[in-house]
C-alpha cells in the first residue's frame, strides 16, 4: 500500500458518557501506524475530549485523556478545535491539553499542535481531506 491519504477524524462526542471518543482514538493510533496524514477535528461536544484535569477515579473508567497528549509521538500533525463550539461551552484554548510534536529525524518541533480555528476554516479543512471518519 503506497497510497497516502489525508485522514480527518471528526470528533463530536464528549468522553465517558459514551465510548465513541475512546474507540475513535484507537482508530487514530492505528491510522497513524499506516503512515497516513492524520488530522483530528473537534466540534460540538467533541471539544470536551481535550479538557485538562480529567480524573476518572470516582467512576471506575479508564482515563484516556493522557493519550491525546501522546498523539504527537504517533505523528499526528494537526489537532483542530472549532472556535464556535469552544466558546459556546464557555471554554478557551487555556482549558485544553497541549500536545507537543517533534519530527525525530529532522528534530523540527512544535510546542502545541492543538489549534483553534473558525467555522470557515473548519469547513475548508473537512473539504480538503480525502476521508472523513465519523464515530
Amino acid at each position: 500500500m503506497s497510497d497516502t491519504k489525508n485522514f480527518m477524524f471528526l470528533n463530536r462526542r464528549a468522553p465517558y458518557g459514551t465510548i465513541y471518543a475512546w474507540e475513535s482514538l484507537e482508530v487514530v493510533l492505528i491510522a497513524a501506524a499506516f503512515e497516513q496524514n492524520v488530522s483530528l477535528m473537534f466540534v460540538d461536544d467533541g471539544v470536551y475530549e481535550l479538557t485538562k484535569g480529567q480524573d476518572t477515579t470516582g467512576i471506575g473508567m479508564k482515563n484516556f485523556s493522557p493519550t491525546y497528549r501522546t498523539l504527537g509521538d504517533y505523528e499526528v500533525r494537526h489537532m483542530y478545535v472549532d472556535k464556535a463550539s469552544l466558546e459556546a461551552r464557555g471554554l478557551s484554548a487555556d482549558d485544553l491539553v497541549q500536545v507537543e510534536w517533534e519530527d525525530w529525524e529532522t528534530e523540527e518541533s512544535v510546542d502545541n499542535i492543538v489549534e483553534v480555528v473558525d467555522s470557515d476554516r473548519v469547513a475548508e479543512l473537512l473539504d480538503e481531506s480525502d476521508v472523513v471518519f465519523s464515530f
Partner: protein
Amino acid sequence: MSDLHTVNKSPFEKNSLESCLRLSKSGSAILLYEDGVYGALKGTAVENMIASVVGDRKIYVLGPDYKARGLDETRIIDGVEVVDYAGFVDLVEANDKVQAWV
C-alpha cells in the same frame, strides 16, 4: 467537486443539522435520512434552517425514511429533492467524499 454530507438526527434532538449547515461549504450536497428527514418539513419551528440554504446547498431527503414516518410529500420544503437508496448511492458516487454528521 464537493462533498456529500449526511444527517440522520432529528433537528429537535441534536444539533447535527445545525453543525452540518455551519461547517459545510457552499455548493455541497446534504442528504437527510433516518430521523434527519424531520428537518425537511415545512411548518416546523426549525423550517428556516433548510429553507434558508436551499439554492446554496443541494438538499436531498431519503424517500423510504420519509414514507416510513408517515410524512406527506406535500410537506417537504420547496427545493428539497426526494431520492431513494439508489439515489443515495448516486450521490455518494457523484461527490468527492461523504461527511457523516452522526
